[in-house]
Amino acid sequence: MTLRALLSVILTCAFCTAAEAQTRPPAPRPAPPRRPAIAERVFFSAGVLFQVNSNDFTDTATIRRNAENGRLETAYDVGSGLAVDVSGSYLVWKNLAVGVGLTLFSASTTAAIDAQVPHPFFFNQPRPVTGEFDADRSETAVHVQARWLIPVNNKMLVTIFGGPSFFSVEQDIVSDFEYSESYPFDTATFTRAIAASQSESAVGVNIGGDVAYFFTPNVGVGGTVQYSGATVEMTQPSGTVEMKAGGLQVGGGLRLRF
């Protein structure tokens, strides 16, 4: 077959196809899958979150001993841990709900004390003193949230949310310490920390997402990833101690809707 003959066949077939297409009625376009409407107006969740990040912080203070300034540095190891989380929201417009959440986190933290205690007889010859203290930490966070609900189907609901968070942090803060020493006072040994629980509040933010699967019309389970955090400043005689509260939290629990 010559090249001309081949082109002729191809063009003929092409026109044939076009002619055939013009002669058939257009096929109906498949309808996009419709999102199920949100029939419920009230949503609850309760569960456990794992606070992923640590909120370690350090407090450095000047101590006056033996007619000379020394140093007290306390490093608080506020590690990750579990938090209890509950929230409720109400659908106010289309897919928008407003809600309130509460997260409770508590942990027993280790405070590492590293101090320099001035010598009673000589200037500039501080004695190092180190010790540890079990310091309790609790965080209460109230979240005000705007929640956007995205129903995937009748059983699955995706929610994204965000808003301000109001943190209250209670933390044992080491204010001083006691030590034992004896002549010639070249060393000193930590005996105990003097600490007191202090509370402070701060405003932060929360943002996150939740995927829920409802195995009955009203009851389901879900998983959440959220960030809720704030910076808290506690006032000490020696100055201000700045610490982070909250952080990245993942977890899951019960989901209800009505």
Binding site: N66, E68, P120, F121, S175, D186, I194, P237
Partner: protein, 545 residues
């Protein structure tokens, strides 16, 4: 509340048993040492412990009685500590041996404060000038003397010149009581010494003033101020009693009497040197009191002193039999006014030179050990050993150098300052001849003055000490000594210390001192040690064989 009621009920019941002692309003005191009392009070204490009215705050073992355990318990009222209310129970294998307590028996007060912590904090911060809080503000039940207990806030406030614990009523904010914390703190003060440096002073707070009585070091270490009363000083030296009012004092613990500062601080340092370097506990190794007298004669009055009394202005000395009861006393003169000279030198208070202070204290060490006779060669060894330890104390605490307050081998250089291009100090261990003292045995002074030249001839052994450490060539013999080096000076210090305090007889000659110091080095570091070799070479270099 239940625990409190139980406490009150138990207290009332026990009071009816007439166990215990004197009572105060709301106060329950008991001293249980008999079997019956112990049984009763142990039940009471245990019941209170279970109810939360008493909480164990401390458990200690008494080293002197290893089987004993002492528990200290604090009283709580609805979770709030009752200030000062404690019970102490001493047990042997769980069996109570004594119980002493002072608790509040009938507490009945509202445990909810009206005042907030923030409001209380503001009140505390306004209670002193430039106040800061050294303790967090805490709620306590505060027991007023002869009055009902009150719910109170407590904190420790540090002001410009004060540190005090304060209590304010948790309802009204009225201050209930404050008391100074300074007495409970280590009374470490500061003071400016003769050469203008600032030193720490270990002192005691007594009746509202700070006194130069060291509560931290093991021995009695007290500095007495003769307040320019030479007659009084002489009387004390001859045995007249010393009184608390004689102790050097300062109102604010920021000491300004340079003699008091340097004598008190540097006697302490010398004690420390002996303890840390040689493991010696003071003069007699048994913490004999360290008593010193200062300010017998003012600098101005020194100008009019008769020659026979000039030592009380221009000298320092140790008198082992002086003082009340022959306690032994160190004395430091105050020198002369800065516009006056003595043999071409300005003389500032002698306590300002650490080597002089250590020199005098070392005389006390010698008198309690080898007790070298104070004349001729043993007397020169006595003086030499004091110079050796004087310079050693300097090198222990000061930076080496030739400036004021720096460590060197000159004696008294911080107090005796040349007024015009001359030499500072009174003797040199490096170059004795610079002060006219012998640096070789062949030049030994053989006259009778100065008890046979005890001070001038001291430089023969003290120069050997120097050569043993630093090395060098003796000017007269030309012999070169390989010293152990400054980094190893401890070896020479210890060798001479051992020889002079343990091995030498009271009438030792220079030759005996040579043999004893070499033996000490061998004992400590071996026969062929660098220290033994250096000491041998050094004695040979100064002509002592």
């Amino acid at each position: 509340m239940k625990g409190v009621m139980a406490l009150a009920t138990a207290a009332a019941a026990l009071l009816s048993l007439q166990v215990g002692s004197a009572q105060q309003p709301s106060s329950l005191r008991f001293n249980a040492t008999t079997v019956n009392d112990l049984r009763t009070w142990d039940q009471f204490v245990s019941a209170q412990e279970r109810a939360g009215g008493l909480r164990v705050t401390q458990v200690e073992q008494d080293p002197s009685l290893p089987s004993r355990t002492v528990e200290r318990m604090h009283q709580y009222y609805q979770g709030i500590p009752v200030w000062g209310a404690e019970v102490v129970r001493d047990s042997d294998g769980g069996v109570p041996m004594s119980i002493f307590g002072d608790v509040s028996a009938q507490l009945d007060l509202d445990a909810q404060p009206t005042l907030t912590v923030d409001a209380a904090t503001k009140i505390f911060l306004s209670s002193a000038v430039s106040a800061t809080l050294l303790r967090p503000v805490n709620l306590v039940v505060f027991r007023l003397q002869n009055a009902e207990p009150r719910l109170a806030y407590m904190s420790v406030v540090a002001g410009t010149n004060e540190v005090f614990r304060a209590f304010i009523d948790a309802a009204s904010g009225v201050e209930l009581q404050r008391y100074s914390m300074l007495q409970k703190q280590s009374a470490v003060g500061t003071g400016r010494g003769v050469v203008g440096d600032t030193k720490k002073m270990s002192v005691r707070l007594q009746a509202g003033v700070y006194v130069a009585d060291d509560p931290l070091r093991p021995p009695v270490l007290t500095t007495f101020d003769m307040r320019n009363n030479l007659i009084r000083a002489l009387n004390v030296l001859f045995g007249a009693p010393l009184f608390a009012s004689d102790v050097a004092s300062d109102a604010d613990n920021n000491w300004t009497d340079v003699s008091a500062v340097d004598a008190h601080a540097q006697i302490g340092w010398t004690y420390d040197y002996y303890f840390k370097r040689h493991g010696r506990r003071g003069l007699d190794n048994r913490d004999r009191p360290l008593i010193s007298l200062i300010n017998a004669v003012s600098q101005q009055d020194a100008l009019s002193l008769p020659p026979e009394l000039l030592d009380f202005a221009l000298n320092a000395f140790w008198c082992p039999e002086c003082g009340p009861g022959g306690i032994g006393v160190m004395f430091f003169g105050n020198g002369l006014p800065s516009n006056s000279t003595f043999f071409g030198q300005n003389v500032s208070p002698l306590a300002g030179s650490l080597d002089i202070v250590a020199h005098e204290l070392t005389h006390g060490v010698t008198s309690a050990s080898s007790n070298l006779l104070p004349f001729d060669e043993p007397g020169a060894l006595n003086e030499a050993f004091s110079d050796m330890m004087g310079t050693s104390a300097e090198f222990f605490f000061q930076v080496p150098g030739s400036g004021i307050g720096q460590a060197d081998y000159l004696m008294g250089e911080d107090s005796f300052r040349a007024s015009g291009g001359g030499l500072n100090g009174i003797r040199s261990l490096v170059n004795p001849i610079a002060f006219g003292d012998p640096d070789h045995y062949s030049l030994k002074f053989t006259g009778s003055e100065d008890e046979g030249g005890v001070h001038t001839n001291s430089t023969i052994p003290s120069h050997a000490f120097y050569l043993s450490i630093e090395g060098g060539r003796n000017r007269v013999s030309g012999i070169t000594v390989q010293g152990v080096g400054a980094a190893n000076r401890e070896q020479i210090e210890k060798s001479f210390y051992r020889a002079f305090t343990f091995l030498l007889p009271a009438s030792a000659s220079f030759s005996t001192a040579r043999a004893a110091t070499i033996q000490a080095a061998r004992d400590l570091y071996g026969a062929n040690s660098a220290a033994a070799t250096a000491i041998t070479q050094a004695w040979t270099a100064v002509g002592v064989n």
